[in-house]
C-alpha cells in the first residue's frame, strides 16, 4: 500500500503541465531517433544532457530532466520498430527480431497491422515491467546480485538455444552462417587478455564488425538489392491508410495473450539481469515460435511473430532501468548515458536512491506509466502516416534509404570504412538470402558472441578451468538445464514422432 501512495504522489509530480509537455516532446524526439539508425538513443540522451544540467538546478527540476530523457528512451524503443517493418532495416538492435515477421506482413499489404501490433505490444511489455518495478523493486533488485559470470553465460546460452535449432534451412548452412557471425564478433580487442584478434594489422578493424553496420547491410541494403530484381518498386503499397486498421488489429491481439505474457516475463527477466533488450527480443521470438501452434508459419508474416519480440524488447528496456537505479549498472548504452545524467545532476544511483530521493524515484516511475501512454498515443496516430511512406515511388525512397543507411553506418565509429563494410554486407545479404543461408543466426552471433565468450572465460577464471561451475548453484544449474532442454527439444520431438510412426 505504501508503494501505491508513493506512486500517487509521483503522478502528482509528473502530471504538471510542464512535465507533460516535456514528455510528449521527448517521445517525439525519441521516435525520430529510433527511426534514423544514425541517431542512437544514447546520442539523443547525451546531446540533451547539458540542457538538463541547468534544468536540474530549479526545484523539482531533476524530475523534469529525467522525464525528458526517459521519454526519449521510450520514444526510441517505439521508433525502432517502424523501419524494421516498413523497409527491413532495424533502426535499433533490439528491433532485428521484429523484421522477421514484421517485414513480410508489410509486404503482404498489412503494414498498418504490423505497426499497430508492434506499438501495442511494446506498450504492454513496458506496462508489465513498470508494474513490476512499482511493487517488486526491492526483491527484484536483489535478484540481480545473484548474477555472476557463470549465470551470465548461462543466460546467453539460453538465448542461443531458444533461437536456433529450428530453422528450415540446411543445418550446415545454418552452422556456417552462425560461425561466421561468431568469427566476426571475435574481430578486434579480446575482452579478457586485451590482445588484438583477427585484425591482421589493419587499424580499421580495431573496433571489430559492429552489429549495426552488419544489420543495416545484411537486412537493409540486401533487401533493396533483392527488391530490385523484382522491378523498381516495393511490395505492399496497398497498405490501408486509415486509423480503422488500429481497431481491427486490436481485435486480433487478445488471441496472443499467452505469447504476450511469456514475452513480458522473458523481457523483465533479461532487463533485470541485465542481459539487455536485444537478446530478450531474440529469445522471446524463438520461444514463441517453438510453443505457438502456428510456429511453422513464423517468418511468413505472423502478427504473433511481431508481438513476441516487441513485448520482450520493451519489457527489457524498461526493467533495465531498475538495476541502473538501484545498482548503478546500466543495461544499455542509453541507460549508461542516463546514469551519467543522474550523477551530473547530483543524484547517486545505488541502494539508497529509493530511500533518499523518494520524490525523484516515484516521479520517474510515474513518468514511466505516463511516458509510455504518451508514446503509444503518438505512434498509433502516426500509423497511417508511416504506412503511407510505402506509397512514395521506389526511385525516390530507395536512394533516401541508402543515404540513411550510410549515415547510420558512418556514425557507429565515425568511419567511412564502415560505409564500405555496409555495402559489402549488403552484397553478402543478397547472395546469402538467395542461397538460403539463414541470416538471423549470423546476426545473433555477432550480437552475443563477444559477451558470451567474455562471460565464459570470466567463469573459467573464477573456477580455474572447472566446467562444473555451470551447474554449481541452483540458479545457474536451472538456466543451463533449460538451455540444454530447449536445444534438444527438436530432437526429442523428432524421436517421439518417429516412435509413434512405428
Amino acid at each position: 500500500m505504501e508503494e501505491f501512495q508513493s506512486l500517487m504522489q509521483g503522478f502528482v509530480i509528473a502530471l504538471s503541465l510542464k512535465n507533460v509537455v516535456l514528455m510528449f516532446a521527448g517521445v517525439i524526439l525519441g521516435v525520430i531517433i529510433g527511426v534514423l539508425p544514425g541517431l542512437g538513443g544514447a546520442n539523443g540522451v547525451a546531446i540533451l544532457l547539458p540542457l538538463t544540467f541547468s534544468m536540474a538546478q530549479s526545484p523539482g527540476g531533476t524530475t523534469s530532466a529525467i522525464i525528458l530523457l526517459s521519454s526519449i528512451y521510450w520514444g526510441a524503443l517505439f521508433g525502432g520498430a517502424i523501419t524494421s517493418i516498413l523497409f527491413n532495416i532495424p533502426g535499433e538492435p533490439w528491433s532485428v527480431a521484429t523484421t522477421f515477421d514484421g517485414y513480410p506482413l508489410a509486404q503482404n499489404g498489412r503494414a498498418g497491422a504490423a505497426l499497430t501490433a508492434a506499438f501495442t505490444s511494446s506498450f504492454v511489455g513496458a506496462l508489465v515491467a513498470v508494474i513490476m518495478i512499482t511493487f517488486l523493486s526491492p526483491v527484484v533488485a536483489k535478484f540481480a546480485l545473484e548474477f555472476g559470470p557463470p549465470e551470465f553465460f548461462a543466460v546467453y546460452l539460453l538465448t542461443f538455444c531458444a533461437f536456433v535449432g529450428m530453422s528450415k534451412e540446411s543445418p550446415f548452412k545454418t552452422i556456417a552462417s552462425m560461425m561466421l557471425g561468431f568469427a566476426m564478433a571475435a574481430v578486434g580487442t579480446d575482452p579478457v587478455t586485451g590482445a588484438l584478434r583477427l585484425t591482421f594489422g589493419h587499424m580499421e578493424l580495431l573496433n571489430g564488425f559492429d552489429f549495426l553496420v552488419a544489420v543495416i547491410g545484411l537486412f537493409g541494403i540486401g533487401e533493396i538489392l533483392l527488391t530490385l530484381e523484382e522491378g523498381l518498386e516495393f511490395r505492399g503499397t496497398k497498405a490501408k491508410l486509415n486509423l480503422r486498421v488500429v481497431l481491427d488489429t486490436w481485435k486480433e491481439l487478445p488471441r496472443y495473450w499467452l505469447t504476450s505474457l511469456r514475452s513480458a516475463a522473458v523481457g523483465c527477466f533479461m532487463g533485470i539481469v541485465p542481459g539487455g533488450a536485444t537478446p530478450a527480443s531474440f529469445m522471446s521470438y524463438g520461444v514463441a515460435r517453438r510453443f505457438s501452434k502456428d510456429g511453422e508459419k513464423f517468418g511468413t508474416g505472423m502478427v504473433e511473430g511481431v508481438v513476441a519480440p516487441e513485448t520482450a524488447a520493451h519489457a527489457a528496456g524498461t526493467s533495465a532501468l531498475l538495476p541502473m537505479l538501484t545498482l548503478g549498472v546500466p543495461g544499455s548504452p542509453t541507460a549508461a548515458v542516463l546514469l551519467g545524467g543522474l550523477l551530473i545532476w547530483g543524484l547517486q544511483p545505488g541502494p539508497l536512491l529509493f530511500v533518499e530521493q523518494k520524490d525523484f524515484v516515484w516521479g520517474l516511475i510515474a513518468s514511466m506509466y505516463l511516458g509510455n501512454i504518451a508514446g503509444l498515443i503518438v505512434v498509433l496516430t502516426c500509423v497511417p502516416l508511416f504506412a503511407a511512406i510505402l506509397r512514395i515511388p521506389f526511385a525516390i525512397v530507395a536512394p533516401v534509404i541508402m543515404v540513411i543507411c550510410a549515415i547510420g553506418a558512418f556514425t557507429v565509429h565515425n568511419a567511412i570504412f564502415d560505409v564500405w563494410m555496409m555495402i559489402v554486407f549488403g552484397i553478402m545479404g543478397y547472395v546469402f538470402k538467395k542461397l538460403n543461408y539463414p541470416l538471423a543466426p549470423l546476426v545473433l552471433a555477432i550480437v552475443l558472441g563477444d559477451r558470451a565468450e567474455a562471460s565464459f572465460r570470466q567463469a573459467m577464471l573464477v573456477s580455474q578451468g572447472d566446467m562444473s561451475i555451470f551447474f554449481s548453484t541452483p540458479l545457474v544449474g536451472v538456466l543451463t538445464g533449460l538451455a540444454m532442454f530447449l536445444l534438444l527439444w527438436p530432437v526429442v520431438g523428432a524421436l517421439r514422432t518417429r516412435l509413434k510412426g512405428r
Binding site: S170, F182, A183, A195, R197, I224, E229, M402, W420, F432
Partner: protein, 168 residues
C-alpha cells in the same frame, strides 16, 4: 556444363554455391591461422585468446566443406540460375552508384555526395523532372544537416562546399 538455354542466365546457382562455400572456407582458414598465432590452447586458468576463434574457425571450415561437396554433388542435377542477366544489370545499376557514392563521401562530404546520389538515382532510374530531382535531393541533405549537425550535434563528414559556406 554450360548448356543453359532458358533466358539469359548470368550466373548459375551451383557456381554461386561453390563460390560462397569456398569463400566461407577461406574465412575459416584465416580465423584458424590467426587464432593459432595468438595461442589456441587451454591455459592454466581458462582458454587463451585464440581458443574460441580457433574452434569457430574449425567448425566454419567443416561446415563449408560439407556445403562445398553438397554444391559439387548437386551441380550435375541442379541447373537453375542464380540470377538472370537482366536482373543482374538492375542490381548493378544500384550497386555501382552506391559504391561511387561511398567513394565520394570522403572528398565531397556526406551531404553533397548524398544530394548527387539521390539526384542521379531519381533522374536516371526514375526519370523525374529536374525540378523535383533538385527539390528532393537538396531538401534531403538540408533536412539531415539540420537534424544531425544543428539539433543533435553529430558531426558527419563535410567537404569543400560546407567550408565555403562557413558551415564546416
Amino acid at each position: 556444363m554450360s548448356e543453359g538455354t532458358s533466358g539469359k542466365p548470368a550466373i548459375k546457382t551451383r557456381t554461386m554455391e561453390i563460390a560462397v562455400a569456398a569463400f566461407v572456407l577461406l574465412c575459416g582458414a584465416l580465423v584458424i591461422y590467426d587464432s593459432a598465432r595468438l595461442g589456441a590452447k587451454w591455459g592454466e586458468d581458462g582458454p587463451q585468446a585464440g581458443y574460441f576463434p580457433f574452434y569457430i574457425g574449425l567448425i566454419l571450415c567443416g561446415a563449408s566443406v560439407v556445403n562445398l561437396f553438397g554444391a559439387l554433388a548437386a551441380a550435375r542435377r541442379d541447373n537453375s540460375e542464380f540470377v538472370e542477366l537482366g536482373k543482374l544489370k538492375l542490381v548493378f545499376s544500384v550497386l555501382i552508384p552506391t559504391a561511387v557514392y561511398a567513394g565520394l563521401i570522403g572528398p565531397l562530404g556526406l551531404y553533397v555526395a548524398s544530394s548527387v546520389f539521390i539526384a542521379f538515382f531519381m533522374r536516371w532510374l526514375g526519370k523525374y523532372a529536374w525540378w523535383l530531382v533538385a527539390a528532393v535531393s537538396i531538401g534531403n541533405s538540408v533536412f539531415f544537416f539540420i537534424i544531425f549537425e544543428v539539433w543533435f550535434k553529430i558531426p558527419l563528414p563535410k567537404g569543400p562546399l560546407e567550408s565555403a559556406l562557413g558551415l564546416g
